[in-house]
Symmetry: D2
Subunit: 165 residues, 4 copies
């Protein structure tokens, strides 16, 4: 049965495989996501081939993150710490909650009394609404990468180029 994966293929694959990536999130900075410093992120991966990025997202207690739409991409989340909910929905994300939000979803995130940390995988763009439902800003993989690189530059922190793949 060894011939199912001949040694030649194993050696060939080893030669062409992308390198593994191992990131200790402890070593990464918390980068402010918004100007008001209500939330921060630690980047884990920027996949420039699909526009998908992965980060730890940290939200201060008792915050309301403005209403936004996930245009053209889904949200996958795994909550690590703290509690949060989307306004008007019946569930609360606690430690250990896994969340899928479909492309197009519009929501306003509200954190509870404890600081929140969630692992998020995101694609497409986030488009932010003001109180009149006008779109007043958007984020995508490039704006997030830009926030990270600018933060590193401003604080003299070396950029982890191995997060981009």
């Amino acid at each position: 049965m060894k011939d199912l994966i001949p040694d030649t293929i194993i050696r060939f694959a080893e030669k062409f495989q992308l390198p593994e990536r191992v990131v200790d999130s402890e070593e990464l900075p918390w980068v402010p996501f918004t100007d008001n410093h209500s939330c921060y992120f630690k980047p884990l991966r920027f996949d420039l081939s699909t526009g998908t990025w992965t980060y730890l997202f940290r939200i201060k207690p008792n915050q309301v993150l403005g209403k936004h739409r996930h245009t053209g991409g889904a949200v996958i989340g795994y909550n690590l710490q703290g509690k949060w909910r989307y306004e008007g929905r019946s569930w609360v994300a606690a430690s250990g909650t896994f969340i899928f939000e479909p492309p197009g979803d519009i929501h306003t995130l509200i954190s509870e009394d404890e600081e929140v940390i969630t692992l998020f995988i995101l694609s497409g763009a986030l488009q932010y609404f003001d109180e009149h439902d006008q779109i007043v800003g958007q984020d995508d993989i490039y704006t997030v990468l830009n926030k990270y690189r600018n933060y590193c530059a401003a604080h003299g922190i070396p950029v982890r180029e191995d997060l981009i793949y």
Copy 2:
């Protein structure tokens, strides 16, 4: 070696597998993509889980499709008929050309003398610029699905619900 995929697993998979989908594009209508009827599409798949859609895209000869950005998603194309290019680039897509455009790419498509038909797979959003580089519109999987359903409704054509999966 049969035990690598036991019969129980084969029967189990057959029970849970998504149905196959087979679409004869001949049976689908050419739906106008833009108001000026410079281009049309035949939808092949709407993947609402990732925001990815697949369509045949048909462009009349000698058209200029307005400058747009692929925000948050990539473009994969396989050109079937006609020639087109992106303004300012050195290549021309002919029959049999495969194209990958990365997320964030901004381009203006120009068709040559023959009508173009290209198979495209798209994610994220298309954001259109006017001559002052102001964003004046956008498309994503929902606007494309909406164009298709509205066209079917207006022309008494049954909607192919099996394109959504």
Copy 3:
């Protein structure tokens, strides 16, 4: 700027969007992954459209999980608890480590003194080698789904059908 996403599109998307999915992992059972009960999983998502599955994976302390190849798919992991490594590599995954292993990677996982819990997203198939590098078994999304359903049936636990999407 509101016209970038007209109300008609927002209402249309709300009608066609896939439902959100929220899973409290506390409510899910630890399903034995192997006969020797060295590791367990809590399923979070079975994406039958791409063959990708997401689970929490729990490994008893001081275990060696047999050498296997990720044929045709990548590994994405975020380690939540405990320490583990792949035999022969220089790094150790601790709480907060993010890991990407490319398709084709072959490795043997070794847990340290504390019980490990890792969030994994997997595609393709796992193919297991014996000590002579013969392939003696494999897993894919269906075998994992089968383990979960069989466990539920054997223990009178209702299957969470909303994990399949």
Copy 4:
């Protein structure tokens, strides 16, 4: 509205974007897929990050391609020329047919009187059965890449490294 994508972000994205890829399939060789030369492929993309490959697949008339399972990945196809079907199914793929086969699907492909050319996007692994339903071989992104590189080496054709991304 220009501020939705500030010039700084456009310039930033242009700097970090992956390069576009344009492949004229006319310039690529038909690489034998099987030893009996019943089918050939022209590679269009090897995505080593996900194990997904894209190729034009050409099948001689009146062939039967052995029964195989798509373990851990889906099949997306767009038929360009000729007619083919899967044994036992009610449909026939003709020019312009789009096909989705779910992960786990098992089928035997039969071509009709004309040579077939189909664009396929594949993930995971193909596992081949003999007449006793024993698994006697498998392909994945590495075996396909290996066939291509070996063919180039044997025929003095330069490898298109830009197909790997």
